[in-house]
């Protein structure tokens, strides 16, 4: 498995030129959005960019253990970043979609709670399996003391491992990540849904009630696509495993925020163009 065999030594280095190019690209894409639709389209595009950034930033909080965690040799949930982010985000998106009729704020909060709840349940059951199934305590390998509870970590860490289980700070990080991811995914969905509901009746020459299934399905598909793009780009930023907000890799988040903003603006622009051309 490549994830175990070799981890790229990217480190927390920033590439200033690429960051500037990314920001310029973002401004150009927003400019195109303003050009094709100064009011409705640009508002939706900005919402999509904010949602994408929330996803990209939120994924950094989620404790991802990967294959080593499955063997109890690294802390975190034993699967990849993309899978966890997709799970949390889609759970949030589905939660938020039910509340879509009650306005933007309530829907986004509902989406955040859905994602956070999913991550809370996952983290709890993961620790349940670690402690009672595999017989290992939760211990972080990256910090000496849990930043939230202040519990000492090294005494519980087995030799030759990077820590194991899910320390309290990772649990909290997972829930925060789920909330941000779910809220971001829902924000993208709601923005696109409102846009499609407003424009599709004229585009398809049909009544609002008739096009509702199309609007819901298209917005949902675009939201899922955008979510996966952002989640995988963030996964590439993390390269493998992360323990949570206390992990040194967490400091890489500015790279991911720029990448997510540009990727969301690009994909969001395509999603907006479908009703404007």
């Amino acid at each position: 498995m490549t994830a175990v065999a070799a981890k790229p030594q990217t480190g927390a280095i920033f590439n200033p030129t690429a960051m500037v190019v990314g920001i310029v690209l973002l401004i150009i894409l927003l400019g195109i959005g303003y050009y094709v639709s100064p009011t409705l389209g640009l508002a939706a595009l900005i919402g999509i960019v904010i949602g994408g950034v929330l996803i990209g930033f939120g994924v950094h909080f989620v404790p991802v253990g990967g294959a080593p965690a499955a063997m109890g040799q690294a802390p975190g949930i034993a699967t990849g970043v993309a899978m966890l982010a997709a799970g949390a985000g889609l759970a949030g998106l589905f939660g938020g979609a039910w509340a879509a009729d009650q306005g933007l704020l309530i829907a986004v909060i509902t989406g955040g709670i859905g994602g956070g709840l999913m991550m809370a349940i996952t983290c709890m059951m993961v620790n349940f399996v670690y402690v009672f199934g595999m017989g290992i305590p939760a211990a972080s390998g990256k910090v000496l003391k849990d930043p939230i509870t202040g519990d000492s970590q090294p005494e519980y860490k087995s030799q030759g491992t990077e820590g194991h289980g899910l320390p309290f700070v990772s649990f909290v990080g997972g829930v925060i990540g789920g909330i941000l991811g779910g809220a971001g995914g829902t924000l993208i969905y709601i923005e696109l849904l409102d846009l499609y509901k407003a424009t599709l009746p004229t585009v398809m020459n049909a009544s609002a009630a008739q096009i509702l299934p199309i609007a819901v399905a298209t917005a949902g598909m675009f939201a899922i696509g955008l979510f996966l793009v952002n989640a995988v780009l963030t996964a590439y930023n993390i390269t493998g495993t992360i323990e949570g907000p206390h992990d040194p890799k967490f400091k890489r988040w500015p790279r991911s925020v720029v990448a997510s903003a540009v990727a969301s603006a690009l994909c969001g622009l395509v999603a907006i163009l479908i009703v404007l051309i």
Binding site: T2, A3, I211, T218, L228, V232
Partner: protein, 283 residues
Amino acid sequence: MTVKVEVIEGGIPHQKIMIAGLIATIVCLYLSYLNVYTNTAYFSFFGGLAVVAALIWGSHTIKVLCSYGIGTGVPSAGMIAFGSGVIAMLLATKFGNAAPIVALILAAVIGLILGYLANEVLNMKIPVMIQSLTELAVVGALTLMGFAVLITGSFTFTGLTTGSVTLFGMISMPSYQVSFIGGGLVAVAFLLGSIAVQHPFNACLGPGWKQDRMLMLTAECGFLSMIVAAVMSFALISAGAAIISLLIALIGWVYTYCQYIELSKRDAYAWLDAKPIPDVEGH
């Protein structure tokens, strides 16, 4: 600074697979246009063949990309392929007959920018990253378009969003809910494709990796997905056309499955044809 874990030894070079996959996919997608000339849906199965061709290309691209330790697991490559692909494909359907070509170009642009973001902004520094993400986005878009053709017989926005409901067997009325996009079939196609494109390399990677075995598994996964999509197509196209798709998918799947088992036996050190646990009488 990256470590390349495996190298491609022998087999068909990637460029050849890419060109062959691209041409076969586009040609198959356009062959489905015979549906319009003959005013039937009997040629929808070409969409399924386009899916298989695109998947074979895509799984080899994933092999090229994931040979570098990207550290995120193979499935993430399938997810980003279809995440960017579905966005390009949905917009491309608006362009009528030019849809496959537009999907190709649009997906390539999206993939190129995503590749740049991953390689430069996120500092991955993997030599094949930009090319691979470009290819994967195109594969995602064309695979979804293939599924759309297989299920609805069309690749235009109108064809994918408009279906018809027959009431009491005689009155036919248009419905947006009974359609590829409105009915949510696009979500099923999305996951059928993304799992089929990432599974073969995930299953075959390792020191004993053989190109022909992995590509045969890809074809098998493609035909397996085609069976499911052909069953779903009964809802949207005529039963005769759906049966043709289903038969072709079944024949293709049985053939590729048998071939894959043969290749697995060839590459295995030893194998034992284990029988089911026998029922012992009187116990």
